[in-house]
């Protein structure tokens, strides 16, 4: 229970506040782990698939899952809203345009997956395939740029409402988000998810698509590795937010290095033809990378209060009342395991088998149910 005893400059976070920061982190981890390969698969569709059959095969590897994967984002957003209204309000209003780009990407890619095979017309399908690729690329890039910015610290300042209350708002600009370090973050997320997606395709398919995905994934893993090294070293050395805890910074280094090693492991396993282990490698890399980010977010939530003359926006001031947190904790305690159980059932039992182009029905839209 040492985590409860750590003194931070302002008020000490409560057990519930720490628990909910961890839960929010878990939801983001779940989102990037699952929707990460989903984004990757989406971006790869036009490149891996030469024929329509190929492309359909690639899309159908995520067919039954993409919608459920996206719910992790909605749950993460909802949990931030409910558990840390101050975080949600300042972040979402501050990053208006980036979030708008994310939404636009998500709208386009969802519709692309659902509608592309509903007509036989080649132009129609090609257009939706590219919409799927761009719609998957945009959120991946924006989230990467965003998380790198949180690690740096989003500048915030005070604002007085008509009722005389002081609230904290983002004081930076849109273009200010695209500093070199943050661009590396964006590229890393794109490269990591591409690799993750390629290894997912190679795990879920047989035949020529499997071989192509494996080759592409191997090359992408190298790019991901270089970007991960740059981000982990730069991020952990250069940026420090107030109140950060020593052992968490050590943890950030360890998880960051683990992420780099996992990418290497994935590359190695892929080159040995071990599809499952290669996918595990990128999965662990994704998880550890997000853990590294969240180590930095305690207790600042990724806000830079150094020029904030009002009350600091952090874990303690952004959170909901303990009653709300208590109720939500009980609900989460009972229902998160249930969600995990049926999600696992879907992946590991119902849709376990690998697919090949033989599984893709003929070009007859009337059979598409």
């Amino acid at each position: 229970m040492t985590i409860l005893d750590i003194a931070v400059p302002a008020a000490s976070p409560s057990f519930l506040q720490i628990l909910w920061l961890i839960l929010v982190a878990v939801l983001w981890i779940g989102f990037f782990f699952l929707e990460g390969f989903d984004f990757g698969v989406g971006m790869l569709v036009p490149f891996l698939g030469k024929t329509d059959q190929d492309r359909r095969l690639v899309i159908n590897t995520i067919g039954p899952h993409w919608d459920g994967n996206e719910v992790w984002l909605l749950t993460a957003g909802g949990a931030m809203f409910a558990a840390f209204p101050g975080w949600y309000a300042t972040l979402f209003s501050g990053l208006y345009l980036p979030l708008f780009l994310v939404l636009l990407g998500l709208i386009v890619r969802g519709i692309a997956i659902e509608y592309r095979s509903k007509r036989e017309d080649a132009t129609w399908r090609n257009a939706w395939d590219w919409a799927l690729a761009v719609g998957s690329f945009l959120p991946a890039l924006v989230f990467g740029v965003g998380f790198a910015n949180f690690l740096k610290g989003l500048p915030v300042g005070p604002h007085t409402t008509v009722f005389g209350n002081t609230v904290t708002l983002y004081t930076g600009t849109f273009w200010g988000l695209f500093m070199p370090f943050c661009l590396i973050g964006g590229l890393l997320f794109v490269a990591l998810f591409l690799t993750h997606g390629a290894f997912f395709v190679s795990l879920k398919t047989t035949g020529p698509i499997h071989d192509r995905a494996s080759t592409v994934g191997g090359n992408l893993a190298l790019v991901t590795g270089v970007l991960a090294i740059a981000l982990v070293i730069w991020g952990n050395i250069a940026y420090k937010l107030p109140g950060q805890v020593g052992w968490l910074m050590v943890a950030a280094w360890i998880t960051g290095i683990l992420a780099i090693v996992s990418v290497g492991f994935a590359w190695f396993m892929n080159s040995r033809g071990r599809d499952g282990w290669a996918f595990v490698g990128t999965a662990v890399a994704t998880v550890t990378l997000i853990v590294m980010f969240f180590c930095h977010f305690y207790p600042s939530l990724g806000f830079d209060n150094s020029r904030n003359t009002g009350i600091s926006l952090d874990l303690t001031t952004a959170s909901s009342s303990s009653l709300t947190l208590t109720i939500m904790s009980w609900v989460a305690l009972f229902l998160v395991p249930v969600v995990l159980a049926y999600t696992a059932w879907s992946y590991f039992f119902v849709f376990r088998r690998r697919l090949s182009t033989k599984n893709i029905p003929a070009l007859d839209v009337t059979t598409a149910s």
Binding site: N60, G63, P64, D67, G68, E70, V71, L74, T75, G77, G78, F81, A82, P85, G86, Y88, A89, T90, L91, S93, Y96, L99, F100, L103, L104, L106, I107, G110, I111, I113, E114, Y115, S117, K118, R119, H159, T161, V162, F163, T166, V167, Y170, T171, S320, S321, T324, I327, M328, V331, A332, T343, S346, L355, K358, N359, I360, P361, T366, A368, S369
Partner: protein, 488 residues
């Protein structure tokens, strides 16, 4: 300027999102019922109908999903100070909706779509019922959240934090507004789905009969027409009953909303309030008192004066007296006094009056349409294909959709000037850090993208309606090398 644009953006994205939601809620259950009928009877007609309406359901569902994400993000993006003020209460239903409802809905719908040839009959049937349960649970949470904005129960004002905080979670789910608004919304969803199913099936019955389709096909379309029409009629009656209960409740909790809906410009003697057919055309003195179950209905000028002198007041219809507001409204009154002079407490009367009437009128028309369908297919009668049937098939699904939209526009516009009724004015909920430029920009792009998607969606629906029932449906469990029964 930013507030106008942000409100328009919310209106456009929400009304658009809600074109897909009621059909998803209603049709998920109707499709599940059809599949259950197949599982019980083994009659192939039900399986073919399940597949046919299931496909239309999915085309519609996709749009609901992608436009729904915008909604959750929009609170933080455009309405940061609202989010900060209410997050302690309003955030929980949104988080729980995602955790409990959306996972259930999306995961099991994925299994339903792709699982025809991988799951046993019984398990596969369970997946569609679980997905339908997801849509229901989702509606519970989101309506509870909206009902709280209409009547902020179970909350207190925390002066130190400058925000509302939860004091009683159960009060949120026993909110009298929620208890009437939720059944009303669900009933309206079934009106929508029933009208859609009846219209599509009746149109196809007429068309296929003319083309000389096999008897089996016609029998299946007839079943669906009858099923849809009955759902529409029964749900229509439920909508009226729940709407009446809701009206009686609103007189207490949102007196300005109901006064605007009925355009009450003067104080009538007790029990003598007339009903207005058109603004100012008074008929049947006392009818209004009967409809709302109260002898005294306060006029708009009266409510205006009362607000300026005493602040926001709820109205006790039993005692015929204004009563003190709920805890949050009372505790926030001192804060509100700081800006009271700038707040016009009355909603737009014209909008409220007409939206209210259009909702009722258009909804009723839809129910009449249901009766017409039943007459058109009575005994073994086959309706004739032609311009009239085409026209009916286009208009009938639109009527409930429009009634839903009118209802929501009335609900939200009638709550103005409040974002939290009697507590936070809408203007104070805006994001101070967001300029008018980004809101304009995003609104234009949303509108364009949504318009394009609407065209694509409607075309796909028409295409798959015209394809009609698949001739033979194979749902046997396949081995690994065979084509999937479904693929994107």
């Amino acid at each position: 300027m930013t507030d106008t644009m942000a409100r328009w953006q919310f209106a456009i994205t929400t009304v658009y999102h809600y074109f897909f939601v009621p059909l998803t809620i209603g049709l998920s259950v109707l499709v599940a019922v059809l599949q259950t009928a197949w599982a019980k009877t083994g009659n192939d007609a039900y399986l073919r109908l399940t597949k046919f309406f299931g496909r239309l359901f999915l085309i519609n569902f996709a749009m609901g999903v992608v436009t729904g994400i915008v909604q959750e993000f929009q609170f933080g993006m455009n309405w940061s100070e609202y989010s900060r003020f209410v997050g302690d209460i309003f955030g929980a239903p949104l988080a729980l909706e995602a955790l409990i409802a959306f996972f259930l809905e999306s995961t099991f719908l994925g299994m339903w779509i792709f699982g025809w040839d991988r799951l046993s009959k019984g398990v596969h049937l369970a997946t569609i019922w679980l997905a339908a349960a997801g849509t229901f649970i989702s509606s519970i949470f989101i309506i509870a959240a909206n009902a709280w904005m209409q009547n902020p129960v179970g909350a207190i004002y925390d002066a130190e934090q400058g925000r509302a905080e939860l004091s009683d979670f159960l009060a949120l789910l026993t909110n009298p507004i929620f208890l009437t608004q939720w059944p009303h919304t669900i009933a309206a969803a079934f009106v929508t789905a029933g009208a859609f199913m009846a219209a599509v099936a009746c149109y196809m019955l007429a068309k296929k009969a003319k083309e000389g389709a096999p008897k089996d096909d016609l029998a299946a379309y007839r079943k669906a027409t009858k099923f849809g029409a009955w759902v529409l009629i029964v749900a229509g009656v439920c909508t009226v009953i729940t709407g009446d209960l809701m009206g009686k409740q609103l007189v207490t909790t949102q007196p300005t909303k109901m006064a605007a809906a009925e355009n009450i410009q003067e104080n009538f003697p007790e029990g003598q309030a007339p009903f207005q057919v058109l603004p100012g055309v008074n008929l049947f003195p006392g009818l209004l008192n009967w409809l709302y179950g109260t002898d005294t209905i306060q006029s708009l000028p009266d409510l205006d004066k009362q607000f300026q002198s005493e602040g926001f007041q709820q109205f006790d219809r039993a005692a015929g007296q204004p009563i003190a507001g709920n805890a949050l409204q009372q505790q926030f009154a001192d804060q509100l006094d700081k800006i009271k002079a700038d707040v016009d407490p009355l909603p737009d009367t014209t909008v409220s009056f007409w939206m209210f009437r259009l909702m009722i009128g258009v909804g009723m028309l839809a129910v009449l349409g249901g009766i017409y369908f039943l007459i058109a297919i009575r005994k073994d009668h086959i309706p004739s294909a032609g311009a009239w049937m085409t026209c009916l098939a286009v208009v009938m699904p639109l009527l409930p959709l429009l009634a839903n939209s009118f209802g929501w526009i009335f609900t939200e516009m009638g709550r103005q000037p409040w974002i939290v009724n009697g507590v936070l004015p809408t203007l104070q909920g805006l994001s101070p850090s967001v300029g008018v430029g980004p809101v304009w920009f995003s609104m234009i792009v949303y509108t364009l993208v949504y318009a394009v998607l609407a065209v694509i969606e409607v075309r796909l629906l028409l295409k798959y309606i015209k394809i009609g029932l698949a001739p033979k449906v194979d749902v046997s469990i396949k081995d690994e090398a065979e084509p999937l029964s479904f693929a994107y």
